[in-house]
Amino acid sequence: MQKRVLLIEDEPNIIEAIRFILSRDGWSVATHSDGETALAAIRASLPDVLVLDVMLPGRSGFDILADLRADPGLQALPVLMLTARGQGGARDAAEHAGADRFLSKPFANAEVLATLRELAGL
């Protein structure tokens, strides 16, 4: 069965790149660009894996993740966080907030693919 991924990211070109990479690998890709409404979008689509950017308009990825982990229905959802900010500190913060994996931009396409496959249990 086709695995579904939800990408929450606001940079159109990055959305396009990730969508292309994952679609080509057989994923079903949904995208959302706004931080404030992200949680509702996750609840609506209930993906197998979530790719979450940290810098989002309206709400930060960390806050969304914290809500996610507090929600019993979404607690187990595997999350890959992406960030373009700094080093070191961001990774710790992501792990602390409950991200399963963390990648900093720019990433290698193969790396994203491999991480998502692992998270989806493929």
Partner: protein, 896 residues
């Protein structure tokens, strides 16, 4: 014998020297080198204008006629100065705290800034000083004639009137040149004061020289002189205690109330401590002046032919011994005495006339409610100059009319009695809080009237204004109204008679009317400020909060003080309130300070009237009155001081915490800066890397391949632009930017900017309103940089304006040497919290997608404007986002 021409030459030379001294000192003072000018010695010497030609020549004549009685004229001032602690100290302190400009201003200010009193006092002063000035002119003329008389050749034929006219004109010129330099009468006339101090030295040296000559050359030393005095009729003089006491009192009163004495003693005083020095030094000066009076008189009576004018012994005695040089020195001494008195009197009277008569008239005639703006300085200075000329013309006119009659000789004391009428109101105002405006007016009026009737008018002699039968029988035969025997009490010396009746009725009316009437609010305030001047030298509060706009007040003050002084004053006041810029809050304290500052130029009454035009209806609040009336006033004053202190502390704390908050915000931003750059660089790189990997793997169709290549291309451009912006910003911030300045038309620059910004969101309909008339301003600046700022603002409006039909209004207008361009859109504007941050780096308010920039645009704009010598600011409350760009029409050179 001295040739007359030589005398005229010496005289001219002396006057030219005075001009040079005054001129040099004015120049030094303007360069700030005035330390020695502000010494107590100069102050003491300037007080010596008390010794006019009347005392220089006349004291000897007086001694020849009435023996030691002349000493009373020196004794009165000596007592007043020795007792400086009680009256003079208070007078000087009040003069300084209230910025009093003249004695008329003092009385007017004390009694509720009443202009009526100002006018009355001015009238009294002018009436008593005019004959006195005439007397000085006469003394100069007479002394000229002593030299000219016996000689057939030279200018001897010249009649005495033209001599007086020349002297009067010369003095008017000097006084106008050096007396009306500063508008602020409260500032010292350094040049004049120094010239007067010099003249004081000259007259002392001259009189001492004649005295020493008399004792050691004409006579055979002190012992011989004492023997001669014993033998002369002067020794036969017997003291009349009543006249002695009366004259001493009169001279003491005069030293306090003579306009010229008030001018040098209070208005020109630069340091209260000088009084302490003057309190012993000035009596010493007077003592030295009087030391040789009796010897000169005795020798004159003995040596000179019967019937010689004793008033001129100082000149004729050296001449009789053929000592031309000494006589010349004596002449210069007398000349000094006369000129210094006339100069200072003219300044003092002109200030009064201009502040209490001309300015109020002008305010009333011109106003009709219209507010006083525009240049009042020119008007005030012109009215002072005309007043000086007017005062001297009056003096000359009086001299010419009275024909230099012998009646003039007595006018010195008559003048004294005239100005002494101010004494009750002055002392009452200084020491009695219950004294009222009406009381002062009644007292002054009665005293002035009696003086005119009983002393001044009769002084013209039997053939003068009063016919002999009026003098002998009273008006309409009413005996008890005889001018020199009021209430039927005759047989007294006319001077003492007038002095007694005028002053006692004056004081009685003053007290009685004061007790019967109630002081107005402003009178109460000023009364406390005067009577308790040592308890709280803090300013009186006469204004309550609100009403006046700081900007209006600034415009008015500029008209009076001049633009620089007014702006400096406002800026200092704003700084004291912890505010930047030119406009302080119009607190009662500020308005009171402004009023005092203006009072220093135009007098208290006029300053009050001018301020009242702006702070209408806000004159005195109930609290202010309570503060005065209540017994607990001291406590309230103290607590209000504490309140003011804690308010100030709170203000400082507020400013500190504001600064602290801003620092913290800035430091957070600095920390975020690297992280921001990282984000801005990594984001496009992510797309570039992802798509280049996709392209490397191959297997794409041509359309996709081209599209992905374009994305890589666009993102590279975005990266480049970001790096350009960062570099641009760092160059601008470091101030090492190369400006390419040229002349340009603002209209063309806005055209260019609109065209260049048209590519931002071209799909939206976007209306621009412009004002071509205002835009046509020629400016000299870096046009490309300015266009860069305009493009940024226009693109921002195109990007962020969230109105249904976005519109942008561009307004340009010239403000003096600057031009302001406003960009106002019709969107929802920038939230207040964000307004202070928009010009910071990376302070993009919405996030990336729409902006397409790194959030450096406005930060760059701010740096560009700083480099162009201008500013860019967010203007709240314009019904949308509004930015104001302001820059000099021509950039100042030193900033280049």
């Amino acid at each position: 014998m001295v040739p007359f021409n030589l005398l005229v030459a010496a005289c001219l030379g002396y006057v030219i020297m005075l001009f040079l001294v005054a001129f040099r000192v004015e120049r030094q003072a303007r360069r700030g080198r005035v330390r020695w000018l502000r010494s107590p010695v100069v102050y003491t010497l300037s007080l010596s204008i008390y010794c006019t030609a009347w005392t220089f020549y006349g004291a000897v004549g007086y001694a020849a006629r009435s023996g030691l009685e002349f000493a009373t004229i020196y004794l009165g001032p000596t007592l007043v100065l020795i007792g400086w602690w009680w009256v003079l100290r208070k007078l000087v302190r009040i003069g300084r705290t209230q910025r009093v400009t003249s004695i008329a201003d003092l009385i007017s200010s004390r009694f509720g800034k009443s202009n009526l009193l100002g006018v009355i006092v001015t009238l009294i002063c002018v009436a008593s000083a005019t004959p006195y000035i005439a007397l000085q002119l006469q003394s100069v003329t007479l002394s000229f004639n002593v030299f000219a008389g016996p000689l057939p050749e030279g200018w001897a034929a010249r009649d005495s009137n033209s001599t007086a006219l020349w002297v009067a004109a010369g003095l008017a010129l000097f006084t106008i040149l050096f007396g009306t330099r500063n508008l602020d009468a409260n500032e010292r006339h350094n040049g004049v004061v120094t010239a007067i101090a010099l003249e004081a030295v000259v007259k002392l040296v001259a009189l001492l020289a004649v005295g020493i000559f008399t004792v050691w050359v004409a006579a055979d030393g002190p012992a011989d002189i004492l023997a001669r005095i014993e033998a002369s009729e002067v020794a036969g003089w017997r003291m009349q205690p009543g006249r002695w006491a009366g004259l001493t009192f009169l001279a003491g009163a005069a030293v306090l109330t003579l306009p010229r004495m008030f001018q040098v003693m209070v208005v020109e005083n630069s340091d209260e401590r000088h009084l302490a020095t003057a309190s012993w030094a000035f009596p010493l000066y007077l003592f030295a002046m009087s030391l040789f009076v009796v010897p000169i008189a005795v020798m004159g009576l003995e040596v000179l032919p019967e019937g010689s004018n004793p008033d001129l012994f100082v000149l004729t005695l050296p001449l009789a011994f053929d000592q031309g040089g000494l006589a010349m020195l004596a002449f210069l001494g007398g000349f000094s005495s006369a000129t210094s008195m006339v100069i200072v009197s003219a300044i003092a009277l002109a200030t009064m006339v201009s502040n209490h008569v001309v300015m109020p008239l002008w305010l009333r005639l011109r106003s009709g409610g219209a507010r006083a703006t525009g240049d009042v300085r020119g008007l005030v200075l012109m009215s002072r100059r005309l007043s000086i000329a007017g005062v001297l013309a009056l003096g000359y006119g009086y001299f010419a009319l009275s024909g230099g009659s012998s009646a003039l000789a007595a006018i010195g004391l008559i003048s004294f009695v005239g100005v002494a009428q101010i004494l009750p109101a002055m002392l009452g105002g200084l020491f009695w809080r219950g004294a009222t405006r009406l009381g002062a007016a009644a007292g002054l009026g009665v005293g002035f009237a009696i003086w005119l009737y009983a002393l001044f008018l009769p002084s013209f002699g039997g053939g003068g204004l009063f016919p002999a039968d009026l003098m002998a029988g009273g008006p309409l035969g009413i005996g008890w109204l005889r001018p020199q025997a009021l209430f039927g009490i005759g047989g007294i010396d006319p001077l003492l008679h007038a002095l007694f009746w005028s002053l006692s009725l004056n004081a009685a009316m003053f007290c009685a009317v004061s007790l019967l009437t109630f002081p107005g609010p402003m009178e109460r305030l000023q009364g406390v400020a005067f009577v308790n001047v040592f308890d709280h030298s803090g300013p009186t509060r006469g204004w309550s909060r609100g009403g006046a706009e700081a900007e209006d007040l600034l415009a008015m003050a500029q008209g009076i003080l001049g633009a620089d002084a007014a702006q400096g004053f406002f800026q200092a006041q704003a700084a004291a309130q912890g505010k930047a810029g030119f406009l302080p809050d119009t607190t009662p304290e500020f308005i009171a300070a402004l009023e005092r500052r203006l009072a220093g130029s135009v007098g208290a009454a006029t300053a009050h009237a001018m301020i009242a035009q702006f702070a209408a209806g806000a004159a005195v609040s109930v609290q202010d009155l309570m503060a005065v009336a209540s017994e607990a006033q001291q406590i309230m004053e103290y607590s209000s001081q504490l309140e003011a202190k804690s308010e100030e502390l709170a203000r400082t704390a507020r400013a500190l915490s504001e600064a602290n908050g801003k620092l913290r915000a800035l430091s957070v931003q600095k920390d975020a800066f690297l992280s921001q750059i990282s984000h801005e660089l990594r984001t496009p790189m992510t797309s570039i890397r992802a798509f280049s990997e996709i392209l490397m793997e191959g297997g794409l169709d041509g359309a996709d391949q081209a599209r992905y290549a374009r994305i890589i291309h666009d993102e590279t451009i975005r990266l480049t632009r970001l790096l350009d912006d960062l570099l641009d910003l760092s160059v601008l911030e470091s101030g090492r930017v190369q400006l390419n300045q040229r002349a340009a038309n603002l209209h063309d620059l806005i055209d260019r900017a609109l065209q260049a910004a048209g590519q931002t969101r071209p799909e939206r309909r976007f209306t621009v309103h412009r004002d071509p008339a205002g835009e046509h301003v020629a400016i000299f600046t870096d046009a490309d940089r300015l266009v860069q700022v305009f493009i940024n603002l226009i693109s921002n409006a195109r990007k962020y304006c969230d109105a249904e039909r976005p519109e942008l209004t561009i307004r340009a207008r010239r403000r003096g040497a600057r031009v302001e361009v406003d960009f106002i859109d019709n969107g929802s504007g920038i939230p207040a919290a964000a307004q202070s941050l928009v010009f910071e780096k990376f302070a993009r308010l919405t996030d990336t997608t729409r902006a397409g920039g790194a959030g450096l645009g406005l930060a760059i704009c701010r740096e560009i404007m700083a480099n162009l010598g201008g500013t860019i600011a967010y203007v709240p409350g314009q019904g949308g986002a509004a930015f104001r760009v302001a820059l000099p029409v021509r950039r100042a050179r030193e900033a280049a």
